[in-house]
């Protein structure tokens, strides 16, 4: 029990110290080659429904994509290696290899019964390190994996990313998820009474950033106990320079403040190393059931005086 207490205390202290400064690169600062997210146009694909998975990639040259999927894979500590052979799936399932294009299309022709049967079979396998046990109550959660290579300043860089798709076996349509969408993004000088959005950015000025996201994007779905619950929405505010106040903002149903999701503050400070003449913002909106969308927007930056 001392361990639990120490752990909990440790979490609290870590949370406290997370506000401390560091020289390590910031997560939301996009510099060079980055893979920022992966989206599927249908996060919970139905039988025979074609799903397209695509990635938000910034920078890098000579990009090489390799998409694959797997119904039962190892955990992060083993690079999500696929642990179930293709042959074991039987006929009717798509190939694990999904191609080398920027996007991959995949459909799962299996019936809900086939999905449930496969899920039950997989749930009898030992659980890889660090992974949750299989939960077949809604369907089969499969993993889509992207191995992305790029040339960066003459060097080969590789990023591996994974995303889950839920193949629903539960006929209850309430579990179908759709991607939340961003309507618009704007910046406005802080304390500017003109009511006008800015179409360029100036050094040493502070801007209020605003996203337009409809509250209708928050879907309701039945939780494990069958009670209807609201999605949690999170925006990650990537940008190519400057300082953003909050890396992420969220709509937390427990706190019932939707504007907390859509507001942030941006500034190009004196010591900022940004040298370009165009500031790029990459806004990634996701829910907590695999739904993702993004928006990119650029602003010219006036020269530093």
């Amino acid at each position: 029990m001392k361990t639990i207490y120490a752990l909990a205390t440790g979490v609290a202290w870590c949370a406290l110290t997370s506000a401390c400064s560091t020289d390590l690169p910031e997560y939301d600062h996009v510099e060079g080659f980055r893979l920022l997210t992966i989206a599927a146009d249908h996060p919970t694909p139905q039988k025979d429904q074609e799903t397209t998975v695509s990635a938000l990639v910034v920078g890098g040259e000579s990009l090489e994509y390799r998409w694959s999927w797997c119904p039962f894979s190892a955990g992060a500590f083993e690079s999500y290696r696929c642990l179930f052979p293709q042959d074991g799936l039987g006929a009717g399932w798509p190939s694990y290899e999904l191609g080398t294009s920027e996007q991959a299309k995949v459909s799962f022709p299996a019936s809900p019964e086939q999905i449930e049967r496969l899920c039950q079979e997989l749930s009898m396998l030992p659980i890889p390190d660090g992974r949750s046990p299989m939960d077949c109550s809604l369907g089969l959660s499969v993993l889509v994996k992207l191995e992305l290579k790029a040339q960066v300043n003459g060097e080969l860089r590789e990023v591996i990313a994974v995303k889950r798709l839920m193949l629903l076996s539960d006929p209850d349509t309430a579990h179908i998820n759709t991607n939340p969408q961003i309507g618009a993004f704007s910046v406005r000088l802080e304390n500017d009474g003109s009511g006008q959005d800015s179409d360029s950015l100036q050094w040493l000025k502070k801007y209020d950033c605003s996203l337009s996201v409809s509250e209708d994007m928050v879907e309701e779905y039945p939780d494990e106990m069958g009670l209807m619950t609201s999605e949690r929405l999170v925006v990650t505010w990537f940008r190519s320079g400057g300082t953003i106040k909050n890396t992420r903002t969220a709509y937390l149903p427990s706190e019932d403040d939707f504007t907390a999701l859509t507001k942030n503050t941006f500034e190009l400070e004196e010591e900022d190393k940004f040298q370009g003449d165009e500031m790029k913002f990459y806004l990634v909106l996701r829910d907590d059931r695999g739904g993702v969308s993004w928006m990119e927007k650029s602003y010219p930056v006036k020269e530093k005086n």
Partner: protein
Amino acid sequence: MRPLLETLCLIFAVLLAPAWAVAQSGQMTQAPKLLEGAQAEYPAAALRERVAGKVELLIQIDEKGAVSEVELLKTSTQAEDLALVRNSTISDYGFNSAAEQAARRLVFSPAHFDGEPASVKIGYSFQFALPPKPEPSSAKTPEKAGPSVVTLSGRVRSKGTRKLLVGAVVTAYKKNGSEGYEAISDDEGRWSFYDLRAGSWQVRVEVEGYLPAEATEEVLEAQVTEVDYYLRPGRLNRYDVLVEVEPARREVTRRELRVEDLVKIPGTMGDPLMTVENLPGVARGVASNGIAVRGTSPDGTGVYVNGVRILNYDHIGGLRSVIPAQMIEKVDFFPGTYSASFGRSEGALIDVRLKKLAPDQVHGAVDVSLLDVGAYLEVPITDTFAVAVAGRRSHIDVVLDAAVPEDASISLTAAPRYYDYQILASFRPNANHTFQLFGMGSDDAMELLFADASSAISNAQSSVAKNSANFQRVAFEYQYTPDNGIRNELTLAYGRDEFFNSAFGVFNIGALFHEFTLRETLSWQMSKNVLLRAGLDGRNFWADYDVTASRPPREGELRVQAEEEFITTKGRGVYFGRNAAFVEGEFSLPGNVLFVPGGRLEHYELTDEWLPEARAVANWQMLPEFTLKGGVGIVHQAPDIDQSDIAFGNPALSPQRTIQYSVGAQWKPVNYLDFDVALFYKDMENVIVPTGELTQRNGQAVPLRYSNGGSGRAYGFELLAKHNFHNNFKAWVSYTLSRSERENEAGEPARLFDFDQTHILTLVASYLFPLDWELGVRWRFVSGNPTTPYLGSIFVADADTFEPVPGAQNSSRLPAFHQLDVRIDKKWVFDTWSMTTYLSVTNAYNRANVEALGHSYDYRQTEEVTGLPILPILGIKGEF
């Protein structure tokens, strides 16, 4: 009153018995006190030849307080006229026989061990000081006219603490040496002179361990002059212990920390439990890690207060332990192979022993530092009943509230704060019965409100992180010691532990424990050489809990961040029982060998297993100053509660089993030097490790989560070299060389244990300067903790985070740690109280010690996370 010329023996009531001279088991609860002094006749030859002398004796005081044996240790003489002595044929001038004869007439109150009168040896000196050369007109005693009347009277007390001093020699004499008389202070510290002639008298007061005092007093005709003398101790510390008794030899290694060892060690802020970290075998901890000993995890160290287990012994972040030094008599630390009367801790055992209250008057202390403020008060209610209370409250919250700017990304809704309280009552109606009641409680709380919780943790569902923990303990102890070699100790305790933690809505733990402890020990001293002990040791608790959390990472596990499984479990009145019976014998064998075999039968309620444990320790005192020792013992440690919970773990887990081996030697070449070496080996079986295997429960395949499939070992060498307080200096050197390994599965290659530290070196020293200045330093050098390097990372899109791909587990190490801590104390001693100010500087040369590695979001870059920079803490303490 005794004529000065007849005795002139300044008695040093030395109650500091040499540790090697005492062969008593148990704890001295009452030191012997001198009730009746005896005058040694000044040998005529020595008087004639004007020779002074000092005779040092070792005397044995029996159970009734009489002197049963006298052993001559040392005689020294000094002559006024060296030429006369050189021509003399006399060897000791008769000092030895005079002192021995006088010593046999001394009467003491007997020493008590564990409440029983017992024989003890103490050092005792007779000093023969030459009287002034007689002048024919001056050597006479007061003439009495009628009955004697008191003319000069008073008490002798210790300066600063007002403690009454018994056996002080008070001498009243005329300045010209014409008259002189002597009195000895009694149990109440009181002395009196009768029928002194009116006029001016010189008074000199002397007692061992104190600086002598001199004064001039005016005695008036037909009046009593009442005066108290406050003597300045040679070493000022209220909590100094009068008699040091050799620790019982029931264990191979037992480190006994007396309070004077504890309170002034730099870097420990006077905290008794933090001091344990300076002993051999103890790994350097970070924050609230706990105390990891001899290659086992902090979970394997049991902390007890008077035999009652305490779960949360330190405040938030490991800043302080919950028991104030003023209430502690000593801290016993057993790094392994301990008595069969204890169990369930495969690592070590720390038993905090509280004071046996026997205040002669009201005493107290107030301690204020930048960290907290504490107060202590002890009060004698009657001759047999005394009470002490203490409390402490941090003020970090006030400091942090002021320090954190308003626009920071965190606001401290409830800044970190803690408080604790203790109450101790002792009732001893007679020598056979002792009752003690101890209560304590502690409360810690912290609440943070994050402006952007999702930035701190990508799956945050709330902006709030909260942490609170509080507990209460009440323990009743009854000791019955009839005069027939029987001794019975019964302890009943109730504890209530409650803690609540939540972070960002994704991690919630709430738990409430009601714990009942029963400890019953019956001892029987069958004969001089045989002591038997048997007893019961029960801990039973009932828990209510609501938990939603991921499985806490255990030793050897890396924290999984993305795709964590969050488990929800709830329990009401869930019972956990840990009950045991034990027997133990102490056999004194010929050749100064003590053999202590023991056995313990532990019942583990969850799997209904009976767990036999055998223990054996042997000590061979080859020479008075040299002892060889060795021992072996089996200990079982139950799974932690979450490990055996049906949702979080595996209820079919068995306790881990460790066989502890230890051999060592102890050498005390002189009274103030101790050397202690030990070799240890631990063989661990049934080690609880995480597993991905499934099991069938109620016809369903469910994750097993943990199994007993692991194994491990730890081995090493320990050295403790200690220079006890002597010539105003004390110091110790502690060194540990060790290695601890684990195998997560049979056949897997061994890996380093998380807390493995190859070299642990600690140097502690302090020097008492004149005018009560004291300087203490501590320097530590410790190998860096093992770490696991990362080979790369995977981006987990749904969690919007990167997950590391680890390399070989614990295949790398952090840089070595070294740090200097300094403490300066200055004490001002007034007659009835004293005040100390201290400056404690932690990390005096501002070493940037690496405590962990920080990683960039994609684990491609690392940076060193360093510990606290130089940290001065100023404090002030008043005692009365």
